[in-house]
Amino acid sequence: MSESPHDPTSGAPEPGDAQDAAIATLVRDDRRFELLLGRTLGIGIAIATVLLAAGLLWWILAPQVYAADRLLRAGLIALMCVPVGRLIVSLVEFAAERDWVFFAIVSGVLSVLGGTLWVALS
C-alpha cells in the first residue's frame, strides 16, 4: 500500500504534494468564507422575513394601528441591511487575513452605499 505515489503517508513527498496541499488549504479557506457569508445572509433574511410576516399579519388584522406600520418598515430596513451585513462580515474577514487590497475594495463598495444613503437623506 505504501508504494502508492499519492499516498500522503508514504516516505518522501512528491514534488507536487506541497502545491496540492497549498491548493487544498486555499479551497478549504474559501469554502469556509463562503459558508460564513451564506450564514450571514441566511440569518439576515430570516430576521427580515419574520418582521415582514408579523407586520403584514398585524396590518391585516388592524390596518390603522401605528405599530403595524413600524413593524413593516423595520422589516424592510432589515432586508436592506442584509447585503450590507454580508459586506461588513467580508470586511472583517479581509482584515483578519490582512488582505488589504480586498479590504479596500469592500470599503469602496460600502462608500458607494454611504453615498446612496447621503442622497436618500438629503
Binding site: G16, L35, I45, P83, V106, A120
Partner: protein, 274 residues
C-alpha cells in the same frame, strides 16, 4: 390599500418568483410590468417594490448556494464597485424621469435582451486550465458535478466585466430589475467565467446593487410597506418552490422560451404606452 390588493400582490409575487427561478431570471422582470399594467401603480413604485424582492431573492439564493464554491466572492466584490455606482446613478436618474419615459426604456431594454437571448447559442465553453494552474487573485476553481471534475479558470478582460456591471447596475436602479440577465452572459462569454459560476456570482451581486438604489426610492416615499412586504414574502416562497421544481424537472437554460417571454413583456409595456 385594501386587503385584496395585498393578497393579489403576494400571489403574483409567488408566481413571478416561481417562473423567475425556473427560467434563471429574477422575478423583477415580471413584477414591474404587472404592477404597472395590472395594478396601475406609478412606475417608480413598481420598481421600488421589485427592488425589495431582488434583495430578498439574492440573499436567499446566495445563502442556499454558499459552500458549493459556485460563487466567486472576490470577483463579485470587485464588480460590485461598478454595479453599485451604476445603481446609485440609476436611482438618481429614475427620480428625475417621468413614468412614461421609464416605461418606454423598460420596453426597449426587454426587447433588446430578448433579441440577444434569441441569438445566443448557449453557454460559452470555457477551456479549463490545469487544476494546479495559478488562477490569480480573482480567478477560481469549482467542482463541476456535471462532468465530475475540478475546473480552474482565470478571469479575463476585467475592464469589460466592470463596464457591463456598471450598465447592469444602472439598468437595475432605473428599471427595478436585478440585471443578472445582462451580467451573466457577459461574464461567461467575454470574461471566461463558467456559466454556473457567472450566474451564482451575479445572484450574489444583485442584492448589494439593489441596496445602492432602494434607499433613494424609500426616502422619496415610493414604497408602500404592506404591498412591499406582500411582494417580498410571495417571491421568497415562489422562488423556493421554483428551485425545488426546477431541480426535479431539469428545466434549465430555456433560452428560446426566455426570449419569447422577454418580447411578450416588452410588447405589454409598449401597449401600455399607447
Amino acid at each position: 390599500m385594501s386587503l385584496g390588493l395585498v393578497a393579489v400582490v403576494s400571489l403574483v409575487g409567488g408566481l413571478a418568483g416561481l417562473i423567475g427561478s425556473l427560467l434563471g431570471l429574477g422575478g423583477g422582470i415580471f413584477l414591474v410590468p404587472f404592477f404597472v399594467i395590472g395594478l396601475g401603480l406609478p412606475f417608480q413604485q413598481a420598481a421600488a417594490i421589485s427592488l425589495m424582492t431582488v434583495i430578498a431573492t439574492s440573499s436567499a439564493v446566495s445563502a442556499g448556494t454558499a459552500g458549493k464554491r459556485l460563487i466567486n466572492l472576490r470577483l463579485g466584490m470587485v464588480l460590485e464597485i461598478a454595479t453599485t455606482l451604476g445603481g446609485l446613478l440609476g436611482g438618481v436618474t429614475a427620480m428625475a424621469l417621468s413614468p412614461r419615459t421609464l416605461t418606454a426604456i423598460f420596453a426597449a431594454t426587454t426587447a433588446a435582451m430578448g433579441l440577444v437571448m434569441a441569438k445566443q447559442a448557449g453557454a460559452a465553453r470555457i477551456e479549463p486550465l490545469p487544476p494546479d494552474a495559478d488562477v490569480g487573485r480573482i480567478g477560481g476553481r469549482f467542482y463541476d458535478a456535471e462532468h465530475g471534475r475540478e475546473i480552474a479558470y482565470r478571469v479575463r478582460r476585467l475592464p469589460v466585466g466592470l463596464f457591463f456591471s456598471f450598465i447592469a447596475g444602472n439598468i437595475s436602479g432605473l428599471l427595478g430589475i436585478g440585471g443578472g440577465i445582462l451580467k451573466t452572459p457577459v461574464l461567461n462569454a467575454w470574461c471566461g467565467v463558467p456559466i454556473r459560476v457567472a450566474a451564482a456570482t451575479s445572484s450574489l451581486m444583485i442584492g448589494v446593487t439593489a441596496v445602492s438604489t432602494v434607499p433613494i426610492y424609500y426616502a422619496e416615499g415610493h414604497i408602500m410597506p404592506p404591498i412591499a412586504a406582500a411582494g417580498v414574502l410571495g417571491v421568497l416562497v415562489g422562488s423556493r418552490a421554483g428551485l425545488w421544481w426546477g431541480e426535479r424537472a431539469g428545466a434549465r437554460n430555456l433560452k428560446r422560451l426566455m426570449s419569447v417571454v422577454l418580447f411578450a413583456v416588452s410588447a405589454s409595456m409598449l401597449w401600455r404606452l399607447w
